[in-house]
């Protein structure tokens, strides 16, 4: 099984096909397909409320998608979020979610949970295996803290770190689960340009360690500098996908962000905010995404 998996899908880490997520009558994500190859940095952009984070939650099992399938390295993913992490997908959160009252080192050690096995009995009996596992875990955690430049803060409480370092710690914690794919949800939100540049370098370094990265971001310069491929999500649907150059040049992307000129719409001047117009706009988008889908299938093999 594993050999065939390796043989057929070499290079593909994540494959999401036709992911749809409905909350009651609201369709937050509609039929989105995306692949991430190994050693790739893929960006996911889109206006606020486009469904980027919902799509992330579908990938990590926090939400169970209404339709569609997600597979990691050729194996279909379980619907339990902790099993997704165990399989090899780690994530960070849009609004930082550290274990605020644990130390920096402890935070990273929690990240190693899926890669260690010591249970309650082992903890109570404290055999040699327990000590060995704890030492190894600590070594690995310190390695990651060195990597992210937080080693000197190992005994600080996470809540006391400055904002930028909290972001880094979240990344270190995610890396501790030795993921094959790292999902970053707006890693540079609220950062100054220097910090953003540092994060960019950090993401490159993560890629060089052999971890593929899928990143949501609003900072266009960051995303276009960083990513090998960018997908644009608008109103729950994938509008276009391609290299940064293609995406940047695409008029529909510009329209999605800045709005279409009035004469290109339906001539309905006062209807900008009504649901009808949004519905119509999404219909026109659906027509257009067919093209985008072609593009994508062209990319994957």
């Amino acid at each position: 099984m594993t050999t065939t998996t390796l043989g057929t899908t070499t290079g593909t880490v994540l494959e999401a096909s036709g992911v749809t997520m409905r909350f009651g009558g609201l369709t937050a994500v509609r039929d989105v397909s995306l692949t991430v190859g190994s050693g790739e940095i893929v960006g996911l952009i889109g206006p606020n409320g486009a469904g980027k984070t919902t799509f992330f939650n579908c990938l990590t099992g926090l939400y169970v998608p209404t339709e569609g399938a997600v597979s990691y390295k050729g194996t279909r993913l379980s619907r339990k979020p902790h099993l997704v992490t165990q399989a090899g997908i780690a994530r960070t959160f849009q609004n930082i979610r550290l274990f605020a009252n644990m130390t920096v080192l402890e935070n990273v050690l929690v990240g190693r949970h899926t890669r260690t096995k010591e249970g309650l009995w082992s903890a109570l009996l404290r055999g040699p295996g327990f000590k060995k596992a704890e030492t190894t875990s600590e070594e690995r955690a310190m390695e990651l803290l060195e990597f992210t430049g937080l080693a000197h803060k190992r005994d600080h409480l996470a809540r006391n770190l400055p904002y930028g370092e909290q972001r880094k710690l979240e990344i270190a914690r995610a890396l501790a689960s030795e993921p094959g794919l790292l999902l970053l949800d707006e890693p540079t939100a609220g950062m100054n340009p220097q910090e953003t540049r540092a994060t960019q370098d950090l993401v490159f370094a993560i890629r060089d360690r052999g971890t593929a990265v899928l990143v949501i971001e609003h900072d266009m310069r960051f995303i276009f500098n960083l990513c090998d491929r960018v997908a644009v999500l608008v109103q729950g649907q994938k509008l276009v996908e391609g290299t940064p150059d293609i995406v940047q040049a695409d008029e529909r992307v510009i329209a999605a962000y800045l709005g279409t000129p009035v004469e290109n719409g339906n001539g309905n001047g006062n209807g900008d905010s009504t649901a009808e117009t949004a519905e119509e706009a999404s219909k026109t988008n659906t027509a257009e995404t067919a093209e985008a889908a072609d593009e994508e299938t062209g990319d994957t093999p």
């Binding site: 990590t60 009252n101 903890a123």
Partner: protein, 605 residues
């Protein structure tokens, strides 16, 4: 007056205000001298009649409440002498210099005047006081007045407006200086041993005092003395030492606790000791559930009940439905296993809930247990528990021919029934302490804390939240069941009414939770201290009767208002509740550029 304040200004930190404008050195010397005099008055008779509890009538032998005054006087003297710069006493005040003197003087004053007033009230008039009593009152008052003349340890940013503000400024805590020289390891361990011995003495004194006025005097004294030691920085220093020598410290604590029954002649107070240990052990088990995993369990006493009933059923009691007698080790395992199974059965459906919902469901299950035990009486259900009558006449334990019901000479000292149970419970408590420590400092313990901190993030880190919560629930239940087996033999009956949600007697769910929160959630010693206080105080203040719960409620509200992290604060909790007093301020922030270069070098590949 202006001249006086200027002299103070010259001798200490500029502008440090005192409550009373006295010259600093005069104030200090007067405090020390008056404190010595106060200590000496305890060898005089304070009253002539033996109607007041405690033998306060003899010359030359301080007794009863006089001991508080004696200890307080000596403590004030030593602290004041340390402030005078006497060599060899400096170690007493690594923190503040003057705040502890003031607090110790206040404690001495309060204890002395409390004694005198209660003599006058109880025996009907000041005529019952001997000259020694008046002298003690006068000297302790002078000590306090002189101590009020000591300047505050540090100058506030804004000068205090009134006398009350000057008073609170004088009591403010100071940072503890780091140690100037390292002591050899054995000396540090000796200090730890001495501290635990002092703790045992204080506890023994407290538990041995007569109910009523003497115990209230003890409480008043301790409530002021402990902050005095804290302000002096001694408690922080001791904590540092116990952290440096964890093994010896635990050992010393164990020995100190185990030697309690040997200080007792009768079983009058060892039964309180044994019950405190049962209560504390269950509270520590609850701390796994509430403190570590963050699951609010309002029906925890049911697990104590399951253990107790399981032990009662296999105890060989004539009324037991099973009518079999297990050896103790088997009964212990039966109790723990029964609780474990019960914990898993309750946990499996309820732990899918979060927060408030879980609390409500556990509250319900706690009551279901009690009512089920009531109804398994042969008429409304199968006859298992004998209903409201419970299972009485549970025989005493017997381990290897050692009958717990009979007095034994251990190391030449007679130890009676409850002393035996106390010693057994010490072993059980030590075991639970070990389990708690080891579980907390492991992968599992970290996962529990992670779930408590942020469950979504914990799940995203690959933690199987449900499984780990169930594990915490089951472990907590098993530990309570363990304590329950001994509980059944100490109380000799198992009735449903012992295991209520709330009631005036301590082992109930509300008191257990209060012990954990009062003592300090997530800490090892917190629930032990909280449980000891919550058991001891109601047991000794029996004369208050109906007002007990009222006072308990008021005390709880005040404590949560002024010290929400509990008596023994977890470092984390302290930071959580007192944002301004950060102990762990991040050191100088690194420049983003420096970080960038690290990333760049790694990214160059």
């Amino acid at each position: 007056m202006i001249a006086m304040t200027t002299t103070i200004t010259k001798t200490t930190a500029p502008g440090a205000p005192a409550v009373l404008p006295l010259p600093e050195r005069t104030a200090r010397i007067t405090t020390a001298a008056a404190a010595l005099a106060t200590a000496l008055t305890t060898s005089l008779a304070w009253t002539w009649s033996n109607d007041f509890p405690g033998e306060l009538t003899y010359y030359g032998s301080p007794a009863g409440l006089q001991i508080l005054t004696l200890v307080g006087g000596i403590l004030t003297l030593l602290l004041a002498a340390a402030g005078l710069g006497i060599r060899g006493l400096q170690w007493l005040t690594p923190g503040g210099r003057n705040a502890p003197v003031l607090l110790a003087a206040l404690a001495t004053f309060a204890a002395t005047w409390f004694t005198l007033i209660s003599i006058a009230v109880q025996l009907g008039g000041l005529v019952n006081l001997e000259p020694g009593g008046f002298l003690a009152g006068a000297t302790s008052l002078i000590t306090l007045v002189a101590a009020l003349g000591l300047p505050a340890d540090h100058t506030p940013d804004t000068p205090p407006a009134g006398a009350w503000q000057r008073f609170t400024t004088s009591l403010a805590a100071s940072p503890v200086r780091s140690r100037t020289r390292e002591l050899p390891g054995w000396a540090e361990i000796l200090i730890i041993a001495a501290a635990f011995a002092a703790g045992l003495l204080a506890f023994t004194y407290g538990i041995d005092t007569d109910d009523g006025a003497p115990f209230v005097g003890f409480l008043v004294f301790m409530v002021i003395t402990i902050p005095a030691l804290n302000r002096a920085g001694l408690i922080k220093r001791l904590t540092e030492l116990t952290h440096a020598h964890r093994g010896p410290a635990l050992c010393a604590a164990f020995i100190a606790a185990a030697s309690f029954p040997f200080t007792q002649d009768t079983d009058q107070y060892t039964i309180i000791g044994a019950n405190i240990l049962i209560f504390a052990t269950v509270a520590l088990g609850l701390n796994v559930v509430v403190g570590l995993a963050g699951l609010l369990d309002l029906g925890y006493v049911a697990f104590l009940g399951v253990g107790a009933y399981a032990a009662a059923l296999v105890s060989g009691s004539a009324e037991s439905a099973l009518g079999i007698q297990f050896p103790f080790w088997a009964a212990l395992l039966t109790g723990a296993a029964a609780s474990l199974v019960f914990g898993v059965l309750i946990g499996a459906p309820t732990l899918r809930l979060r927060g408030d919902y879980l609390a409500i469901v556990t509250l319900g299950f706690g009551e279901i247990f009690r009512i089920a035990m009531l109804n398994l009486n042969g008429t409304t259900g199968p006859d298992v528990t004998n209903g409201a009558m419970g299972i009485p006449n549970i025989p005493n334990l017997e381990i290897f021919g050692f009958n717990f019901g009979e007095p034994h000479d251990i190391l030449g000292i007679p130890v009676a029934t409850y002393g035996n149970y106390y010693l057994l419970m010490i072993l059980v408590t030590a075991f639970v302490v070990l389990v708690f420590r080891r579980a907390a400092a492991s992968r599992i313990g970290r996962a529990w804390i992670a779930i408590r901190e942020d469950e979504t993030a914990a799940i995203a880190m690959g933690i199987n939240s449900f499984r780990l919560r169930l594990m915490a629930f089951a472990l907590g239940a098993a530990l309570a069941g363990l304590a329950g087996t001994v509980h059944a033999h100490v109380v000799t009956t198992a009735t449903p009414e012992q295991f209520q949600f709330a009631g005036p007697q301590p082992p109930n769910s509300a008191f257990l939770l209060a012990a954990v929160i009062l003592g300090g959630m997530g800490t090892l010693s917190g629930p032990l201290v909280g449980a000891a206080l919550l058991f001891l105080i109601p047991a000794k203040l029996d004369f208050l009767q109906d007002y007990q719960l009222l006072l308990f409620g008021i005390a709880l509200v005040l404590l949560m208002r002024f010290r929400p992290e509990g008596l023994i604060a977890d470092r984390r909790k302290q930071l959580e509740f007192h944002e301004t007093g950060q102990l762990d301020v991040p050191d100088q922030q690194r420049l983003p550029d420096a970080d960038a270069t690290i990333g760049v070098t790694k990214a160059k590949a």
